[in-house]
């Protein structure tokens, strides 16, 4: 078990190192941030000054070495644009992203699980078709378009909800729905397939043969087991929701880490992009590591096989 854990931790570390190299290189491929920090027509001296100020005049390997050395001390650097500590900035935005992800997850589960169950119980029927269309739309409609439609309908037309920003529970409803729909569709699809598998199993047949009411069979015997993969996926999706809400947070002016990443990209603010991608990646790596560990604890075959 110890060897297994060490191996998994090693893989996690290698993933993070590779991610750091990749993101470091990619942001630099996008161009020169000094150009975006000055007005066209700025003198070459000003551009040189800005590059010197941010250490961008040094060779790439020196920049990377400095980046990793600071990272080892938990220092993600100073934002070019905000001139403030990137980690502080990230942490100030994280609560908003966590709240959005939590509400979006609640939406996705409240919508995804019941529709998935109904689709499985009424397989190939009207409900199943409706569920499939719902899933298809959720997975294929771009979230910025869904977001704008929601704003037009609920804010401008009906006047029920604030169009953007944060501050109250009403503010979170539309962005959470826009973000949650995609995941609701994924949860619905998984619930449906998982339920279909469980409903065809021997113990469910036995429960039916025993004469238990269908509702009880579905709710108590089938759903309980069918939910295991759905909740596992939901756990991983929660981490994704925190990190991928770039478009939704931008459309709704929601002050989360997704919007911070957008700001970093548009301003070519290398430290912000590096920090948000690395911290998001670290979250996913840590969750995957924990899932691996839990699987190994639950199922001894895994730790012996690998």
């Amino acid at each position: 078990m110890k060897r297994y854990l060490l191996a998994r931790a090693g893989f996690a570390l290698v993933s993070l190192v590779l991610l750091s190299v990749t993101i470091f290189a990619f942001v630099r491929l996008t161009g020169d941030p000094a150009v975006l920090l000055t007005e066209p027509g700025a003198s070459p001296e000003d551009l040189v000054l800005i590059r010197q100020q941010f250490g961008l005049d040094r060779p790439l390997w020196v920049q990377y070495g400095s980046f990793v050395a600071h990272l080892a001390r938990g220092d993600f650097g100073q934002s070019f644009y905000y001139r403030t500590d990137v980690l502080d900035l990230y942490l100030s935005r994280l609560p908003a992203s966590l709240l959005l992800a939590a509400v979006a997850m609640a939406f996705s589960l409240v919508i995804g699980i019941p529709t998935g169950v109904i689709a499985a119980v009424r397989v190939n029927g009207w409900w199943d078709s409706a569920g499939k269309i719902f899933a298809l739309l959720g997975l294929s409609l771009p979230s910025f378009w869904v977001g704008l439609l929601l704003i037009l309908f609920f804010s401008v037309f009906l006047g029920w909800l604030p169009s953007s920003g944060s501050g109250s529970l009403l503010h979170v409803l539309m962005p959470a729905f826009a973000l949650g729909w995609y995941f609701a569709a994924a949860h619905m699809r998984l619930t449906r397939s998982s339920m279909l598998e469980v409903l065809g199993s021997e113990y469910v047949k036995l429960a039916r043969l025993k004469g238990l009411p269908e509702a009880l069979v579905i709710a108590k015997h089938a759903l309980k087991n069918a939910l295991i993969p759905v909740l596992t996926l939901a756990g991983i999706n929660l981490v994704l929701m925190v990190n991928v809400a770039v478009v939704v947070e931008t459309v709704f002016a929601w002050p989360g880490v997704g919007r911070l990443l957008y700001e970093g990209i548009t301003a070519r603010d290398f430290p912000i992009v590096q920090a948000t991608v690395l911290l998001g990646g670290a979250m996913i790596v840590v969750v995957n590591f924990l899932v691996d560990v839990l699987y190994a604890v639950i199922d001894p075959r895994i730790r012996y096989d690998r």
Binding site: T30, G31, D32, P33, V35, L36, L37, T38, E39, P40, G41, A42, S43, P44, E45, D46, L49, I50, Y81, Y82, R83, T84, L89, S92, F144, L148, I151, L152, S155, V156, G159, P162, S163, S164, G165, T250, V251, F252, A253, P255, R259, L260, Y262, E263, A267, R268
Partner: protein, 514 residues
């Protein structure tokens, strides 16, 4: 009975006490209410510190509220006295003396002194700081209200650089900055402007409150909130719902929708950002663009009015120049009419009766719509070019490094005057100059050493005349920045200062009925 006798006397006394208050101008009333802006760009803490002014116009959105300058552009004046009530220049053009107003204070109650002015200039590290430092020999403070800036050599553009092209003339409190440091200052800035800092969430929201001790006049709105809403459609939705009072940058179809919405007003602000087409190959004798008639043909082929109407609802200004019309030493050239037959005739005379393949038309993606329209009109006249939009940074890098050929859609919103723009885009050695003309270069060198403003103006205007005659460019427009204003706003401050993109001065901003 005694009471009856006292009553008229009391009434007279009461009236005497209340009358002055009733007759006092509204401006002296205590500030009240709140105005909220939906801002299109992320607000950065560096914009709280004029020492870091990066040479772009956006931070001035904040400077005009938090800070004040010795002199600055104001309504109707390109260089209005601010914290300095007056200034003078020595005969040899090497010493500028500024006299500060009496009794002016920072938000923390400390007086604005000559030491603060000296400190602010010496501390300045933003755009063009190198130019300033190379040319300024020293700063003297003979007394608390007097500042003398000594130059190494006469520099005719000193005031332009000091008061509008850089943040060096915007004054910060020396004692406070020394106490809290540069980083501390950005977290809790103190200035001498009409609004004081209350709170800031980077990239999200900035809240300011009226500073009633502001020298020019007490602000009329108590609280200003700047909310960052990156998406244009969301900004318009917030404006329609009354969540914000002013929404910056609403373009195209959304601007048309704004115009159609009852209660909302579209307010354009023509900014100091002209756009033009640059004939990069005009110095190559083998290129069709070497022939002035071809360049003139391109100018006559463009229907600028139609482009303006389609893209900025007719609010951009068609000046025919690459220099902002609000700049010092500006010369108004004759504008080109839309004349396709003349364009075709000129092309035929130049030896291109069937037109020619003009290669690529390079533009910044953000303004590719303007390039698309220009390319369409050129094609109609027989000049066949392909639009090549590039991401902003890549575009300006390529432009600057002279990597482009054929046609380039140039633009600039940088501060300065006609001389600074000619230096960057026309004169030999300029950052974005692909070739030059000796007569223009000669005049440019001459004006740089000329201390007599009138003579200098004549030289700079002669250069602009030559630029027009040689058809070095095909000027497109001076961009209008379109904004939405909600029904609660009395005076939005938009367009009050010529060439300024944002609301200002903030002490003039009002709520309706207040």
């Amino acid at each position: 009975m005694r009471h009856r006798g006292l009553l008229p006397v009391l009434l007279v006394l009461l009236s005497a006490a209340l009358l002055p208050a009733a007759l006092a101008p509204r401006a002296s009333a205590a500030p009240e209410g709140q105005l909220t802006w939906a801002v299109h760009v992320s607000l950065a803490p560096t914009w709280f510190d004029p020492a870091e002014a990066p040479g772009i116009i956006t931070p001035y959105m904040i400077y005009y509220a938090l800070h004040d300058a010795l002199a600055k552009p104001m309504p109707g004046q390109a260089m209005a006295p601010g914290l300095a009530e007056s200034w003078s220049v020595s005969k040899d053009g090497r010493v500028y003396e500024f006299v500060l107003r009496n009794g002016i204070k920072f938000h923390n109650g400390e007086p604005v002194t000559a030491e603060d002015v000296k400190f602010s200039l010496e501390r300045y590290k933003g755009a063009a700081s190198k130019t300033l430092k190379e040319r300024v020999a020293g700063v003297d403070t003979p007394d608390a209200r007097r500042v003398r800036v000594r130059l190494k050599q006469p520099w005719p553009d000193f005031l332009t650089f000091y008061t509008s092209a850089t943040g060096a003339g915007w004054i910060v409190p020396k004692k406070y900055v020394e106490k809290v440091g540069d980083e501390g200052f950005k977290k809790a800035p103190i200035g001498a402007g009409p609004y004081r800092f209350v709170s800031f969430k980077p990239g999200v929201e900035l809240v300011l409150e009226a500073f009633e001790g502001y020298w020019r006049r007490a602000p009329q709105v108590k609280r200003l909130v700047f909310r960052v809403i990156p998406d244009e459609a969301t900004r318009l939705a917030a404006l329609k719902r009354g969540e914000v009072d002013v929404a910056y940058s609403i373009r195209g179809e959304l601007a048309e929708e704004l115009q159609r919405t009852p209660g909302l007003t579209l307010v354009p602000a023509v900014i100091q950002a002209p756009f033009w087409m640059y004939f990069a190959d005009q110095w190559d004798p083998k290129s069709p663009w070497h022939d002035r008639r071809v360049r003139l043909a391109a100018n006559y082929a463009l229907d600028r009015k139609a482009i303006n109407q389609a893209l900025t609802l007719g609010h951009s200004k068609l000046t025919g120049s690459i220099i902002p019309s609000t700049f010092q030493f500006y010369w108004q050239p004759p504008t080109y009419a839309y004349d396709p037959p003349r364009a075709k005739k000129l092309l035929a005379e130049a030896g291109y009766p069937n037109g020619f393949d003009a290669g690529e038309y390079f533009s910044d993606t953000a303004y590719a719509n303007l390039g698309e329209a220009a390319v369409d009109y050129l094609r109609k006249a027989g000049i066949r070019a392909q639009l090549r939009p590039l991401e902003r940074a890549a575009f300006f890098s390529g432009f600057k490094e002279k990597k482009f050929k054929n046609l380039i859609q140039g633009a600039s919103g940088a501060f300065g005057n006609a001389a600074t723009r000619i230096e960057a885009f026309v004169a030999s050695g300029g950052t974005y100059v692909y070739g030059a003309y000796p007569d223009i270069d000669g005049l440019f060198s001459e004006q740089a050493a000329e201390l007599d403003q009138k003579k200098r103006e004549a030289l700079l205007q002669k250069i602009q005349q030559l630029v027009h005659e040689k058809a070095i460019f095909a000027p497109l427009w001076e961009l209008a920045f379109l904004n939405g204003v909600g029904p609660r706003v009395g005076q939005s401050g938009l367009g009050l200062i010529a060439g300024h993109a944002y609301s200002a001065p903030y002490e003039d901003v009002t709520l309706k009925g207040k």
